[in-house]
């Protein structure tokens, strides 16, 4: 055997070993069960095969823009006041569809330069143009708008990941979904009842502590009457319970300050606890900066009441007896122990930057997945065995090449899935992925058939076995390259533009075809060469 061939064989064996490690790692035991456990450790099944919950969420990114625009309006008002410039009104004309648009009306004449300077210095992410009759239009620069939307999505993903991690779901998938529609894909293997998880993910958990300025009132009208028909400019009317903590809770309305003393952003920690009545509650601590602000607020409002507001609902009101620095408690509202636990967890994970809603939910039962794996594996084995046996009968000696190549192709493909787990990329095997495997097997058979038929043809034309093998491979190679490259090109495009299932198909197909180029051409050729070196000149080739 020549040295060149020996090296090729060593290289092939090393490759096989490498991918076997991907499939099994180093198994703890060599029994059937031990090997099966090693495989399940390395090759992860998709939700469609394993069972679990699949959700697609829509992030309402306009919420985040609204917050920014409202903030901008506050900045404008304050700056204009500081520079003693009169204006009639600053508002968003269409917060629903164009939340970044701000209209400033009735600006006093001659304030043009001041206004432009304010926007340039303090609100550089906005463009400002003059409109009719002393009014000005502002809108966010497109690049900032895109940034803000994308940030809302990535922040939402981060927050949801935090929350799901704390729920103890193993191997969740949380990623952006689709092409720029601000959607998130969440896959939770093994979760059979998504109700609670959905609530927890969706909760905005916007915590604010505000000053109570009036109430409780039995209705909104009553509140308005009490204030003489007009609410004070710096106040808000929010719903809540009549008597927080009391057993007979009806709806009530509270007048609270528009500005919050502290908010969810200032939280350092939140834990479930019990209040002085022994009811479940959530206690929280504030960050250093937040604590300082809370201290300033409480020390200047001793004797007043504060309101704890969660998602724009007053949870409880409490009297400020003394300055408080960094601790607080959310109680009232008849929390159950589980709710207190969930709420503290949600608060710890941070608030969502925008509200979300669910577009798609699929719960695959473990029983269904188990059935389809069993049936699918059985069918695949029957099909494979039929193909392998046929190749042996039809091509005799060369059939061994084809069978080795096909089996090695599958080993490499599975090993690739295993290595993806080791590398932390986690390409799971899904039903569409299996479609990719089938096409790979089909094209693998095809490559072998192409080569063998060509070799037979060359032999018929009177070539010697070595030259027939050589000619057969070099002619078939052109065809194989063309078929493989075209398919890989389309698979790559499917991977880039497709979603979920289409991607799974494209991944296994691309890698399977690359593996096939190696096994059906390189490996098969090495086997032929090895067989030929052992033959005497003039011996026939078994094909």
């Amino acid at each position: 055997m020549n040295k060149n061939l020996l090296w090729k064989i060593v290289f092939i064996l090393a490759t096989v070993l490498f991918f076997f490690y991907g499939i099994f790692g180093i198994p703890k035991s060599l029994t059937m069960d031990g090997l099966a456990a090693a495989v399940t450790d390395h090759i992860h099944l998709g939700l469609d095969l394993k069972g679990g919950t699949h959700l697609i969420l829509q992030v309402h990114v306009n919420d985040a823009i609204n917050v920014d625009a409202q903030n901008a309006i506050e900045v404008l008002k304050q700056q204009l006041r500081n520079r003693k410039i009169d204006y009639a009104d600053i508002s968003q004309p269409d917060p629903q569809n164009n939340p970044d648009r701000i209209v400033i009306k009735g600006v006093q004449s001659g304030a043009r330069n001041d206004l432009l300077a304010i926007v340039r210095d303090r609100l550089p992410e906005y463009d400002i143009t003059g409109g009719a009759q002393d009014s000005w239009n502002m809108s966010m620069k497109p690049s900032n708008l895109t940034d803000l939307r994308n940030k809302a999505v990535s922040q939402a993903i981060e927050t949801i990941r935090n929350r799901i991690d704390q729920l103890g779901v193993s191997e969740p998938t949380i990623q952006e979904h689709g092409l720029g529609q601000y959607q998130i894909l969440v896959q939770l293997p093994g979760v059979d009842d998504p109700g609670r998880v959905k609530d927890i993910m969706q909760s905005t958990a916007m915590l604010e502590i505000k000053q109570q300025m009036g109430g409780p009132f039995p209705s909104e009208q009553a509140a308005l009457q009490d204030k003489g028909g007009v609410l004070p400019a710096d106040s808000l009317l929010l719903p809540g319970h009549a008597m927080p903590g009391a057993p007979d809770e009806g709806q009530a309305w509270y007048l609270v300050s528009r500005v919050s003393a502290v908010s969810g952003k200032d939280l350092r920690d939140a834990q479930p606890s019990t209040d002085q009545n022994g009811q479940p509650s959530v206690s929280f601590t504030l960050t250093g900066e937040g604590g300082q602000r809370f201290y300033n607020f409480t020390s200047s409002h001793v004797g007043d009441s504060l309101a704890v507001v969660l998602d724009n609902k007053v949870q409880e009101v409490a009297n400020i007896k003394e300055p408080i620095r960094d601790r607080g408690e959310i109680s009232g509202g008849k929390m159950s122990e589980q709710q207190a636990k969930d709420l503290s967890m949600i608060l710890r994970s941070g608030a969502l930057p925008a509200s979300i809603s669910y577009l798609n939910e699929e719960v695959v039962g473990a029983s269904l997945g188990a059935d389809s794996i069993r049936a699918g594996v059985r069918a695949a084995i029957i099909g494979m065995v039929a193909v392998l046996v046929f190749m042996l009968i039809y091509y005799r000696g060369a059939g061994v090449n084809a069978d080795v190549a096909l089996i090695m192709n599958l080993v490499i493909l599975l090993g690739f899935l295993g290595w993806s787990t080791i590398a932390g990329v986690n390409v799971a095997l899904t039903l569409p992925g299996i479609a990719g495997v089938i096409l790979t097997v089909g094209m693998g058979v095809d490559s072998n058939v192409l080569i063998f038929e060509r070799i037979r043809e060359e032999l018929r034309n009177g070539k010697t076995p070595p030259s027939a093998v050589d000619q057969g491979f070099s002619h078939a190679w052109i065809t194989i390259v063309d078929t493989h490259v075209t398919t890989i090109v389309s698979a790559a495009i499917l991977f880039i533009f497709g979603t979920g299932p289409v991607k799974g198909f494209a991944t296994t197909l691309t890698f399977g075809l690359l593996a096939n180029l190696f096994t059906a051409v390189f490996v098969s050729r090495v086997i032929f060469d090895w067989v030929l070196t052992r033959k005497q000149r003039g011996d026939a080739l078994s094909i």
Binding site: S372, P432, T483, S490
Partner: protein
């Protein structure tokens, strides 16, 4: 062993038969898509609520329908699903709601309607979520565990659910079955038998798809396929001549049309996995076409004096043995999947079974004649006949 040796069939001479065959099937499919079953999009694409239920006994569809009626769910599609011995039923609410919340309620209504004769204060184990079982065990603490009770009861709940789902396909018939279950503590089993009862069904799979996602998915799958065909066209134009790329794309389009048409004619749902199968058939058909094209390219160089139709015929015949073998073997794998792959894979394997047949047929009957027809057209217009691709290696 060899099946085909020195065959010489005049394939191009039969092109009018091929055309008639293709036309009949594509037109029938298109007519069905337009006027009969339309395109039977699965729930993934059309939106709606789909619940797969497995019963412990042979299901009575009339009774299920009556239950749905009572719950105010009007006119759901209820059908048996899979092999009869599995007792599976599919309930499809279609898309009558436009908001996702409403779809969510639809699911709960279906489950609620099927839950009958609930013993007071007991929970259904056949539809009990892991969390419900764990919380119950934590509450009752039948094993008198100390500190790490949560982890142990979670494992117990998992063992019970696994026993139910993986060993018994989701439905237990008697709570006594739990006693011998692997990994389940006898005390826990006894406690479960105390607080739970067994309904006669298990919800296997729930799909709730909002209308927005469905249409978006359709557009996206369509665009991805379109782009990938474009990529194919460009690559083939670069490797051969542009007409080869065009012929290959027309061929693939023909295959897709007939396959989708077959789904419409048989009114089989086109789900996400069927889309994967259609992508597979596109890849397969394309592979087949290129093999023939490659041979044509090679023969054009060898047989400079022959007519193109002669060359094409010869090339098809030379590759026929390979074509039949590959198609036959791939068909074998796919057929195994269709026959033994189970109900979940049914639509998927159906698309592949049709696709492999059509994909093989079309490279001979559609792709090759297009090349010749183009050549004839060029000659008729008095242009120089295609000297043919010199670009290949």
């Amino acid at each position: 062993m060899e099946f085909f040796h020195n065959v010489n069939i005049d394939f191009l001479g039969k092109k009018w038969y091929f055309l008639a065959f293709s036309l009949i099937f594509s037109v029938a499919g298109v007519l069905s898509m337009l006027f009969w079953h339309h395109i039977p999009w699965g729930v993934d694409f059309r939106g709606g609520t789909l619940v797969y239920v497995r019963f412990s006994h042979a299901p009575d569809l009339g009774a299920v329908r009556a239950d749905m009626d009572r719950a105010g769910l009007k006119d759901p599609k209820i059908q048996l699903y899979g092999v009869a011995s599995n007792n599976e039923v599919l309930i499809d609410l279609g898309l009558r709601e436009t908001s996702e919340q409403a779809l969510d309620q639809g699911k709960n209504k279906i489950i609620g309607a099927l839950e009958k004769n609930v013993p007071a204060g007991k929970t259904d184990l056949n539809n009990g979520a892991l969390l419900t079982i764990k919380n119950y065990l934590m509450d009752k603490d039948p094993m008198h565990l100390g500190t790490d009770a949560e982890a142990k009861y979670t494992a117990q709940a998992q063992a019970i659910a696994d026993f139910r789902d993986k060993v018994h396909g989701g439905v237990l018939n008697s709570l006594d079955q739990l006693k011998g279950a692997p990994g389940v503590d006898p005390a826990a089993a006894a406690s479960i038998a105390d607080g739970f009862y067994l309904s006669d069904f298990h919800v296997q799979n729930v799909a709730i798809v909002g209308p927005q996602v469905g249409s978006q998915l359709r557009t996206q799958a369509g665009l991805a396929t379109l782009y990938s065909l474009l990529g194919m066209l460009v690559y083939l134009g670069f490797r051969f001549e542009w007409i080869y790329g065009v012929a290959a794309v027309i061929t693939v389009f023909h295959d897709t049309l007939i396959t989708v048409g077959a789904f419409s004619l048989t009114n089989t749902d086109i789900s996400l996995t069927v889309i994967a199968a259609i992508l597979t058939l596109i890849g397969y058909s394309n592979n087949d076409t290129i093999v023939v094209f490659d041979r044509i390219r090679e023969n054009i160089k060898l047989m400079r004096r022959e007519k193109l139709s002669e060359i094409v015929n010869r090339s098809i015949n030379q590759t026929l043995s390979r074509t039949i073998l590959t198609a036959g073997l791939t068909f074998l794998t796919v057929l195994a999947l269709f026959l033994f792959g189970g109900e979940v894979l049914r639509g998927f394997s159906l698309a592949l079974v049709i696709g492999i047949l059509i994909g093989t047929y079309s490279s001979i009957a559609i792709a090759a004649p297009i090349l010749v027809a183009y050549q004839d057209w060029r000659i008729e217009k008095g242009k120089r006949p295609l000297a043919m691709p010199g670009k290949a290696r």
